[in-house]
Symmetry: C2
Subunit: 164 residues, 2 copies
Amino acid sequence: MTVTDEYLSNNAEYAAQFNGPLPLPPSRNVAVVACMDARLDVYRILGLAEGEAHVIRNAGGVITDDEIRSLAISQRLLGTKEIILIHHTDCGMLTFTDDDFKRGIQEETGLKPAWSAEAFPDLEEDVRQSLKRIEANPFVTKTESLRGFVFDVATGQLNEVKAE
Amino acid sequence: MTVTDEYLSNNAEYAAQFNGPLPLPPSRNVAVVACMDARLDVYRILGLAEGEAHVIRNAGGVITDDEIRSLAISQRLLGTKEIILIHHTDCGMLTFTDDDFKRGIQEETGLKPAWSAEAFPDLEEDVRQSLKRIEANPFVTKTESLRGFVFDVATGQLNEVKAE
């Protein structure tokens, strides 16, 4: 029995209480980009109800072409206008460098990834440059509010990162 | 007052009840890849407790280089071994084509994205090819369980997609 099997059994309980379906477009017109970290229950952290906001997540909560793709679809096809970006304290991305990570993969597999691992040494600095990646991108054109935060895994608080 | 401001006020309530911090590595060694759709509260759908599993999300729940990056970091640095992939019924990705989406962007901005939008016409087929993208990738090497599902937004149920 895998953990996946356990989670499927949890899903049967969830479905037994489920009331659906809700409409497809996010009812509050918000898109969140956050780290994949297991401790970030984004719906609880922001008090999101089902159906309110798109939630995009990856290692670090960084902005690459795939987050631009998701944000462009979110804004152009489904009407979101606000973006909330979330990094967090004690992040795995602070614990390594791209060079070492890619060297480790190459030593195991004989191949070096052509992509960046997107590790960063400073949380607030990376929130700022991630916001700038969104601002500078020509395909995310419908943004009315764009703000970045660091979630504190010790206190549960979102602390805003202001432009320098 | 933006919706972001409202969510920050929700966060203050969340932090007031918060017990942390939990450890960084996912305690159940699972990584979930799911669509960004607002109706998918992944923690509730699977019964995830905080700290148990990485959650990676994007438009469609598709597999591009950025999901491979996140999965490689998840497995190599933080010890996950199971992958759960989730698409869902009534998905926005079923409603357009890459060509039309990119043409719309070009008509507005004068620029055509170099990336694919990753729209798909068939949910189960795209779950299967997404699982194959993971299996075929040389950088995701620690997988012990890999299974794909379609979440039904009308019933709350996860329905497994079997290999053909």
